[in-house]
Every structure is written in structure tokens, then in C-alpha cells.
Amino acid sequence: MPDKSGNAYALTILSPIRAGHLDEIAYADVVRSRLDAWNFLENSPMARVPQTYLCRYFVLDDVFTQSLGGGDVFGTWQDFLSIFSDRARRRALPHEDHLKSRYLVFSCNFHGDLDAYLRGMWLAIGNEIRHAWEFCYAFDQVRNADDFVAYMKKCRLKASLFFVGSNDDPLDEQLKALYLKQEFGKFVVAHQGVPAAQLQQAYRDFIARVEPANLAGPSWSPGQYRLRQENQ
């Protein structure tokens, strides 16, 4: 299944936004504004959604067609013909498509299965979801986690190719590993040239402090963007 690579999942959602206005502002622009407001919060609401690696939101207003010369055979031939005829040049230009609806796009990479993830998302940030999706077609019928899972599956587009360049471990394992890497690096720098017995004691104290096997213990928190927020 191309949406999944190992334990990592690539979710692509396109939710059509209703044509309408709220206080003279188009619904699609209201959606954009609400999502933009998340940038001013202490941290993203998505930090509360379990197992989210990375995700993005945007509003797709329309599609684009770039009409500069391309590299395909037909394009080159048409470009050649356009030297002799302006009509040929105009006919060679790509057709211009336009969307009839605007779409809320949610693209996410996470660990685990789709149903469990979407359920966790609804339980963690149901209010924010309702706020962001309020003006999307058929979202008014979403009342609980099951409805949300079913709704999102209707909006889902399957990936043709998914590439994982990082790793697909559970997020709490990744965050714990990052915490350990950072702390062990500091330990190594601070204990250069220390005699063996003293180093070993310091190492034991270090291990007791960082608790490598305890995922619920000292670690980085999801979305943490400053070092001093470490739970030590």
C-alpha cells in the first residue's frame, strides 16, 4: 500500500470548502485565517495529536498551469511552429484549468494505522478540528470520532509513492532518542579526560538521570522548539 512505508503513514486529505461568506469574507479565507491563527499559539494544536511526525495545512484556491517552454517533444515542435505562425503559438499554449471549489488540504506523516490516528486526532483536538473544517461540505454531519474517521476517508487521496528518509519508529521513541543524543553529547564533552572510576560514577549518575529505557521519563515533548523545555 503506497500510503504506508513500514510503520509510517502518509495521509493526504482534500476537503472541499463550501462557497459562501461569513461577514463578507469567503469561507475559504475564513478557514485560512483560522489555520493561520494556530501559528500564534504557544505551540501547534497538532503537538497534542499522538504520533504526528510532521504535517501541514493550506487552502488550495486553484490549480496552476505554467506555460513557459517545456522539455517534451510536442512542446518543442509546437515552439518551432510558433516561429512561423502566431496562431500556432497561441494554440500551443496549455489549456487553463480552474477548480470550481476551494479545498482545505491536510497532509500528514504519522506512525501507525489510519483509523487509530484519526480517532486520536479527534479526541485530542476535536474543537480545533470543528473550527477548521466548519465550512467544508458535509462536515456538519460529523458529530463524533467515528463520523470523523468516515468523513476523512471520503476526503482521502491515496499516495502513488511514499518515501521515508527518516525512520518510522513511534514518536515517543524518536523523541526519547533525540533527548538521549543531546544529553549524551553534553555528557561526553563535559567528561573528557576524567579518570576511569570517576567517569564511571558520573556515567551511572547520568544514566539514572536520563532513564534511557523509560519513554515516559525525561524526554523531549512533541513540537518542542526550545532546549530549555526539556523535562529533566
Binding site: E42, L68, S160, L199, Y225
Partner: protein, 229 residues
Amino acid sequence: MSNIAGKAYAMSVITPVRWYMSWINKLFFWVAQKRSSTLKGLVTLSLIHYARWVVIGRKQFPRLHPDQPQEDLRYSYMLFFSNFNGSWDQYVDSFTFSIPSGLDLFWKWNIRYPRSVPLTPFHEYIRYNQIEATHYYSAYPLASSNDVKAAKKVAQALAGFDARCHDAEPEAFLKNYHALLRDLQNDLGDMRPTPIVSMSAQQVEKRRQRDVRKEQERLAAMGEERKHA
């Protein structure tokens, strides 16, 4: 609006593809997914967290309600989403230099795709078709993809070392400790909230200033409490 979440950059590109050729794109992707050796070039681009290609047929845009107008499109569309580290130029150029033919294969049937070489038309093509994210989130904004991979190695090596040497004699401990450091010497780089390279820096800075202000208010309140005590 920001394509930046700490060390990660979100690239979102939508490009038209002739509807009767989109199945070839899907076939290439299917082969690439099945034969991991075809993605060897991508693997060398260690700056990528996750990337995906999605081909939407011209009649496959989600329609959820009878009131929603049916899309009437001439082309199918290919969406490309990538999460990577570094600047836009570094990323696009590294694609061009590392896997130019693979890149051309994936985008070959897209309308007016100029090919990945030379760089300038390719840059223009991507810029024209790129969409800025309104909200972008990373669970580990301080870390690059290489940090995530290195962290896994450090955690595993440390666990193995601890099991073997926690209670060893000091001299044996030191010998193994040095061996551990030799093994991990490329994986212990410090992570910091730098560099900030785009508009999102503004958001980060606002948060930072708010944090500092809160801390100052908290300290001032504590000082007041002490005075009255």
C-alpha cells in the same frame, strides 16, 4: 503562513499532467515502490524526512455533497509533498544534481515540465507551481532528518553499552566507553534552535519574547511575594 517548522521545510507542489498519460506516472511510481533499488538515489538525499507523490485523476477530486459543483478539468494533477532540511535552493539543487533522470521520469508527462537540467527553468517551474503552507508542524523542530537517524543509533548503542559495561571494572569501562565514542563520533552533534531561515522566525521570535516576558512576570511576582512575607 510558513513553510518552516524549525529545521524542516514543507514543499507542496501541484502540477498538471495529461489525463491520458497519468497512468504512466502511476506505473513508474508503482515500480519504484516495489523495487527499492530504484529509490537508491533518493536515499542518498539524507536531508529528506518524508516525501510523497499523489496523482489525482481529473474526475477524482473529492465530491461530498450534491450541492458541491462537479469539477470539470482538462488535466489530471500531481501533488508532491516533501519535508526536508535546509534551504529551498539546497533542496531543489540537490535533487537536480543527485537524481536528474529520476526527477525527469517522475515529472516527464507533466505539462510544460522543463526537465531538471538546466537549473533556472526548473527553479521557475517549481516556484510557479508551489503552494505555501498556512500552518506547518514538526514534532521535532530542533532536529534534522540526520539527527533523527543518528539519535536512533545513539539510543541503541547506549543501551547496548549500558547492558555490557554499567557494572564493569573501571578500566574495562573506560576502554569500552572510548570504543563507544569512536562508533558514535559522527552522531553526537549538538541540536539547537538555529538557524532560523524564513518568515516563521517571526513567529518563533514572538513566542520567545512571550516566554521571556512570562518568565520576567513570574520572577517579579515571586519577588513581590518574598517582600510581603
